[in-house]
Symmetry: C2
Amino acid sequence: MAKKVGSPVRGSTTGRPIMVLFDVLGQRWTMRILWELRDGPYTFRALQERCDFVSPTLLNKRLKELREMALVDLTDEGFMLTRWGEELGGTLVALDRWSIRWAKELA
Amino acid sequence: MAKKVGSPVRGSTTGRPIMVLFDVLGQRWTMRILWELRDGPYTFRALQERCDFVSPTLLNKRLKELREMALVDLTDEGFMLTRWGEELGGTLVALDRWSIRWAKELA
DNA sequence: TCTTGACGCTACATAATTTGTAGCATACAT
DNA sequence: ATGTATGCTACAAATTATGTAGCGTCAAGA
C-alpha cells in the first residue's frame, strides 16, 4: 500500500524520490492531511473533522501510508507529524504563500 | 473543469487558495506535468512521452485545467509554463531537494 | 494533387480509486 | 451495565484514471 523509495511507482519506473513523492502527494487528501497535522496532534476523529469529514476509509488508508513512510506517527496524544513530516509540512507553507499571491493576481 | 480561486473545491468550502491548490495538485499527474514542463516547451506528444506515456485523455484534461489556471500556455513552440507556472514549478524544486534527503535517511 | 507525417485532441470501454454510511472491537469511566 | 470515545473496517455507489484506436487539421515533399 505504501510506496518504498527506490522502487517503481505509478508513472515512473525509476523510483526517484521525487517521483515517489509525486505518487503519494498526488493522491486525494494526502497534502491536506499533512497540512492539518501541522498543528496536531489530533485524534482520528478530530483529524477527520478538520479535513471536512473525509471518509474514515480513506483517512485510514492515507494515515497508514504516511506512517509507513515515516511522515506521521500515532502516539497516545493522537496522530502527529514526525520530524520528516514536519519538514515536508514546512515546504507546504511555501505553497501556501505562493497560492495567496497567485490568487490575488488572478482575481 | 478547472477550479476558480475563491469558489468551493472538493473537500473545502472556503475557496482558500491553498485548498484550490491542494485540489488541483492532489490529482494524478498534475505535479508531474508541471515538473516536466520546467524545461519545456514541449509538444503534446513530447510531453506525453516525458510523463511516461500518460494517456492523452488525461494529459489533455490536465493541460486544460492548468491553462485555465494561468499556469500553462500553449504557444507555437508547444506547451510551456507561464510566469505563475514557473514560480509554482520552483516550489516543487524544494520538494525535490527534501525528498532526496528523506530518501537517503530512510534507505 | 496526392501522399506522408506531425500536430492537438476525442470516444469509449475497462479498471482503479474515492465516497458515504453503518457499524465493529476495545478501553475507560460512571 | 451503561455510556462514550478510541482507531478502524465492510460494502455498495459514484467518480476518476487508463489504454487503445483514431479523428480533423495543417504543412512539406514527390
